[in-house]
Each structure stands twice: as structure tokens, then as C-alpha cells.
Symmetry: C2
Subunit: 415 residues, 2 copies
């Protein structure tokens, strides 16, 4: 199938996808969940082909781990399908109606976006997540996984198709790119008349390539350079717990803290015990000259480049600042509009930070690691967008829909 | 000033624009309203230069009329400023907060988009509308009007600057492109690191050029091919009033009806008197073969091209259809996702039409002309978007903002 034919099939499946009943969609998701468990031997076998190949060509260990499908991954995929089945269906929901002076009733109705192209790397469970969120939100999805997970993704796709067919849903609502040829994706990215949205999930390079190659709207985040600012009035033991959690709990994620900003009044008290605790769990520390004076040992001097860095690892850069203004200015200059937190007991500073920091989630007295669809109460999500338009923050079911205006009248005209 | 310098100035004015108080913004708008009236002689003089030039180069009469600033236009601009001053300020408003099981309070806060480039043609009052909506929504605006209105726009801009300065607001929140050189705009369109959104307002050609030249998100509508479908069960006198209003009240607008679809059961009764009434007010009629059999005189045969056409004039194409499915299929094929209406007394058909027609406004028993910010109760607007993402329909103050997530905690971590 040519890229054009594939995208055209997707477009032609739009109406059917939009009109699936909530019950039908949930039946597909639940059937797929049990199918993943029943067919796990098949999944393990197909996955093994990818893992063996990855080892042969010498991919890094961390990548191979993310690639692997084991009992735990199968259980997690099943659970995520059940989670999405439990979420309310947003399609054709009406968000508020109001009455105009001429009696016209006006409201906003949620409708699917249409055809969504998802381009992702490594973790094969994204195949299941992307499919389930797109199905539930009434969209058609085109799946393009990484070539390193090709057999795993193809196996998952074959189960998705079976689940759709067994529930009487057209399997055309999911399209799968079954070639490793890069030019195929580049052709898809040119089809802005057929594809409504592209969501690249993966490294910065993948995302930059997609943005360069397409005129289709893209929801993306390049990187997460997240900050915690410990203010002069902070509860220092709370601040310490937040900093350790934000840096250590899962350092490879986009919402982990990369830079700590500390008010100069509390830095001499706050930094030495924190530094010791972080070093004990293996965190490599870098600091501004003032931090070096305070912490003294086991810390390197941070370079200008460090403030821009998304380490995604047990590395932390620390800067002592003169106050809120300098903290906000630092975040504006080096940040990535992803997630930033203040720890403070000062009401005015808390509210200024909330207003003035321009990130997809701004927190007071809580860990940056909470920027996640489940943690914020949106349910399953398709990643976190730092694109401001349309969706800024975790993209849940609601962010995979748009609204149109509707009006119920009884003969209203315009004069 | 180079395009880069101008856009950089705009970007640097973002924080200041976002933080203006509602009172300050309203004072500027009210001051400008009275200034327009006080300085109307100056405006008329500057406008005359454009009109004289337009006449000299032989621009069409309709264009020259849209260009002209007279007492009425000055009053309308003043009124629109007062309207925007009366609208609630959306900036930093919190749209709902909810509590998570760990006690974290999560909500969405409205923030400005940032720097908005508006490219428009002809009508100089767009200068005032674009400025007032962007100021009130906390955005910085770059104004690029048509060269045919150059002196008028420059005069309006000079008053805007004075109003800002007299109220103590940095005039940098409005940037004005004071060259007629096309390459200047093309350079601006390349600055996706500095400009957050482009809104082209004008003909299809202008919009296509902008889309082709930029990677900045664009809110647009190419054209409005709007339909009214008169169902078999319609109240035919209501249907006649709606059709006449939708076609005749202001035929040059994007929400005027271009194609009428009539159920075959009522076509023989409904069409002849409607056709006569429309012909009497000067509407040129085109029809499908079935329509020609019914109406017989004073009607031409419609070509395939007619169904795609946005006449923007007293021309109407009419098609007889076998029912709702055919009507919806016609709209899907030839429509422009702008505005479509059904006239019916059938509940099931009304609800199917509302759900299945994919337009920015879908109406039951009301005129397509009602697709407008004021008519729908949103207040002043910046045009109607048929781009689905971010804003679909009239773009009011809310559509000129986005939301970020905010969270108030007391030490919440992730486990």
C-alpha cells in the first residue's frame, strides 16, 4: 500500500470511528486486554526476535530493556486498556449550553480530531496506549513504531485487528505502517489533506525531524528541563523531600527535576544535608560558584551549558539565587515550558510563581514528577505537550478531541 | 527595523502584556474610543489618501467602499472598543479546580498565547479590532494591514500608541509593519521562535500563501461554502424565512448560504415560491436537473464546480436530495466545515445532523448568518476559524488564550 492509499483508508474510516458507541469501544478494549494475556506466548516469541536483533547490533542495554515484553509488561498493557475502558467517552458530549436573547440555544460539542499519526520509538506498549486512547476518543490512528520494535508492534497490531473484528468494528480505524523505510513516513508527513494531527513520541531528534518535514499540526515536547525553586520561607524538610523525589524517583523521565534553584538566605542551611543525601543515592552534583562555596566537596562547577541540559539521569545542577525574580528569570531563560515547582510558605511568592511561570504545569509545594495524566486526574495520556496551542500539558482523551459549536433554534434569523 | 528586530521587540513585550491589569487595559480601550472620535478629521484626511490612490489605480468599487472611513465607521470602531472593554478579562482566570486523592488541588489557568501576527486586507477597522482583542487577552500583536489601507492603518496605529502611552502602558505591546514590501512579511513568517500564532484575515489566496510560507501555527478559514438543508418535515414558512435570511441579508459574508439542499418530498411545493421571492430581490439561481424541472424558469443548470463555489454574492445553487443521508454526504463532499443548518421537525434527523456534520457551527432551525461571535454570545471576535485544532468557530477572547495546569500542594510526592 502506498502512503497515500494508507492515509486515504484512514480518512475514509473517520466517520465510522466517530460514531462507534461507547459500549462497543469498551468491548474492544476489554477483549484486547484478555487477548494480550491469552496470547502472551506469541507476544514473547515475536518480541524475542526484536530483542535478539537489538543485542546483535549492539543497542544500549537501557534501550533493550525498554523494548522487552515480559509478564509484567503484558499485565501493565492489560491494566492500561481496562483504565481507558473505564474513562468516560468524550465524543458528542456537550460542554455547556447557553441561551441567547432571541431564544437560540448555543453550546459546544466534543468531536474527534480525525486521523492522528503517532510516530514513536522503542517501548512497544505505546502501540496499545495510542490505539486505546484514539479508539476511545473516536479517532482513526496511524501507528508508526520504531524499527527496533518491529516484530513486537506487528504482533500487537495483529491482536488489535482481531479484537476489532471479533467485536464487529472495522479494522480500518487502525492503520499500521509495516515498512521500516524512512521515506514512507516522510511521504505520510506530506499528506496534510488526509492527516489531521501528528504526535511524535521519542527523542528530540525524532521530534525535530517531524516538525521540519510536515505542515500537519504537531503536538510535541522537545525536552523537559524542570526546576524546583526553594524559597527563603520554605519548609526545609518538605523542600528536601520534594527535591529528592523530583530528582531520584525516576530520573529518566521528562518531569524529573534537572536544576535546583535555592534562595541565598536558606542555601547555607538547606544545601549541605541535601547534597549529602543525594550523593548517597548516586546523584552527581554540579553547582554555581556560590553553591560550590557552600557544598564544598563532591560537586563540580556547572557550565553555562548545564543550565540548558536535560540530563535524564542522576545528575543535578544547583544554583543559588537572590530571590523569586532571579528564579523566574532563570526558568524563563533556560527552561522548556514543561514543569516547574516552588517550595514556599509565602503566599505572594506562591501566587506570583503560579502566574508568571509559563510551563505546562506549575506547582506549589509538590514534586515535578506529578505532571502526568493519572497524577493530575485526567486518566491515561498520550504524553505531555509543551506546544501551547490546543493542548498544553498531559494529553488525555479530552485533548484528543476538539469542539464545534451547535445551536438549537426555532426559526432565528439575523437582522 | 528588521523583521527580526521587530519580532524580538514583540517577544520582549510579552510579560508586560500578560500582566496588565484589567482596569488598565479597559482604560486604554476607552481612551482610544474617545480619541478616535476627537481625531476623526485626521483619520478622514489620512483615509482619503488611500481612497484617492485606490481610485487612481482603479480598484473595484466594492473594495474602495470597504476601505472608506466615515462618521459611521468611526462610531462603529468606538462602539467595538467599548464592547471589548465590557467583556471579562480571561487572563489568569482559573477554569475549575479539582482535588486528587493525595490532597493536591489541580486546575487549569488561562494565559495569553504570546505574540500574534495578524495579516489582513482592506477594512482598516480590523486594525482596531485586532488591537483591542489582543490587548484584552494579554497578547502582543504585530499588525500587518493591506497596502491599499496603508495611510489609514498608520493613522489608527498612531492613535493606538498615544492611547497606550497616555495610560502608562508600554507601546511595544503593539508592533506595526510600516513597509509595503512583501518580503518583510515573508521574513516574519520564518520567525517561529519569536511569533506564536499567525491569523490571516482575507481572501483565500492570502491565506494559502501564509500557510505555505510558515511553520508558525495558523488559524484560518479558506472559505465558507454554507448549506441549508430543508428536510421533508420542515415547517416550510420557517424554512423560507431562514433561506432568504441566509442568502440575502449579507451575501458577501462567509456565513451566507451558498447551496440549498431540499428534500424531494417537499421540493415541488417549497421551491417555486422561494425561487420567485429570491429572484425578486435579485438572486441568480442555479439548480440540479430536478430543481430545473420544478422551478422551470429564471434558473440555470448548476455545474459540478458550482457545488464547490463560495459566490459571496446574490447567487444560489439548489439541489434536490433524497433525504438526510444524501444531504450530509453532499455537505461532506462539497462543504468547507464552516456553517451548515437543517430545517426540520424530525427529532432524529435534527440530532443526526448536529452530530454528523463536521462544521464549526451546526444549526437546527436557524439561519447560517448567526455564526458570529456576537450572535453566539462570545462577544467581539477575530474571525471564524475552520481549523479544528485550538479554535473551531468564532475566535473570541477565550480563543486568544490557552490554559496551563496549576497545582497547589502541601508536600505531595510521587511514589
Amino acid at each position: 500500500m502506498t502512503p497515500y492509499e494508507l492515509a486515504l483508508r484512514a480518512k475514509e474510516a473517520k466517520d465510522g470511528a466517530a460514531r462507534l458507541s461507547e459500549e462497543r469501544k469498551n468491548s474492544v478494549l476489554r477483549r484486547l486486554a484478555s487477548m494480550l494475556s491469552d496470547e502472551r506466548t506469541f507476544l514473547f516469541e515475536e518480541n524475542k526476535k526484536d530483542v535478539v536483533e537489538a543485542e546483535r547490533i549492539g543497542l544500549p542495554r537501557s534501550l533493550i530493556e525498554r523494548l522487552r515484553i515480559d509478564e509484567k509488561v503484558v499485565r501493565e498493557m492489560g491494566a492500561s486498556l481496562m483504565d481507558v475502558a473505564a474513562l468516560p467517552d468524550p465524543v458528542y458530549e456537550i460542554e455547556g449550553m447557553w441561551k441567547r436573547p432571541n431564544g437560540l440555544l448555543v453550546g459546544r460539542m466534543r468531536i474527534p480530531i480525525g486521523v492522528i499519526l503517532i510516530i514513536y520509538e522503542s517501548r512497544p506498549n505505546v502501540t496499545i496506549e495510542a490505539f486505546s486512547l484514539c479508539l476511545k476518543s473516536g479517532n482513526v490512528v496511524i501507528l508508526k513504531g520504531g524499527s527496533e520494535a518491529f516484530h513486537s508492534n506487528l504482533a500487537l497490531y495483529s491482536l488489535i485487528r482481531r479484537a476489532l473484528e471479533e467485536e464487529g468494528v472495522s479494522p480500518e480505524v487502525v492503520q499500521f505502517v509495516s515498512t521500516k523505510d524512512h521515506s514512507y513516513v516522510n511521504e505520510l508527513l506530506k499528506l496534510d489533506e488526509l492527516i489531521d494531527l501528528v504526535i511524535p513520541r521519542g527523542g528530540e531528534e525524532l521530534i525535530r525531524t517531524v516538525v521540519r518535514e510536515t505542515r500537519i499540526p504537531v503536538l510535541k515536547h522537545y525536552k523537559g528541563v524542570c526546576h524546583v525553586f526553594v524559597d527563603a520561607s520554605a519548609d526545609l524538610s518538605m523542600a528536601e523531600e520534594i527535591c529528592v523525589n523530583a530528582k531520584v524517583q525516576k530520573p529518566a523521565t521528562c518531569n524529573a527535576m534537572e536544576t535546583l534553584l535555592v534562595h541565598k538566605q536558606v542555601a547555607p542551611v538547606f544545601l549541605p544535608p541535601l547534597a549529602e543525601r543525594l550523593r548517597k543515592v548516586g546523584v552527581r552534583l554540579k553547582g554555581c560558584p556560590e553553591t560550590l562555596r557552600i557544598v564544598r566537596e563532591g560537586i563540580e562547577e556547572a557550565t553555562e551549558q548545564d543550565w540548558y541540559e536535560e540530563y535524564l539521569d542522576l545528575v543535578l545542577s544547583i544554583r543559588v539565587v537572590r530571590g523569586l525574580d532571579e528564579a523566574i528569570a532563570h526558568i524563563k531563560r533556560y527552561g522548556s515550558n514543561h514543569t516547574d515547582a516552588i517550595v514556599t510558605r509565602d503566599y505572594v511568592n506562591a501566587m506570583r510563581f503560579i502566574r508568571e511561570v509559563d510551563s505546562s504545569l506549575v506547582l506549589v509545594n509538590a514534586s515535578t514528577r506529578l505532571n502526568d495524566g493519572y497524577q493530575l486526574g485526567l486518566g491515561a495520556e498520550m504524553g505531555i505537550s509543551t506546544t501551547k496551542l490546543h493542548a498544553f500539558g498531559p494529553m488525555g482523551l479530552k485533548e484528543l478531541t476538539v469542539t464545534k459549536f451547535i445551536a438549537f433554534g426555532d426559526g432565528q434569523l439575523r437582522f
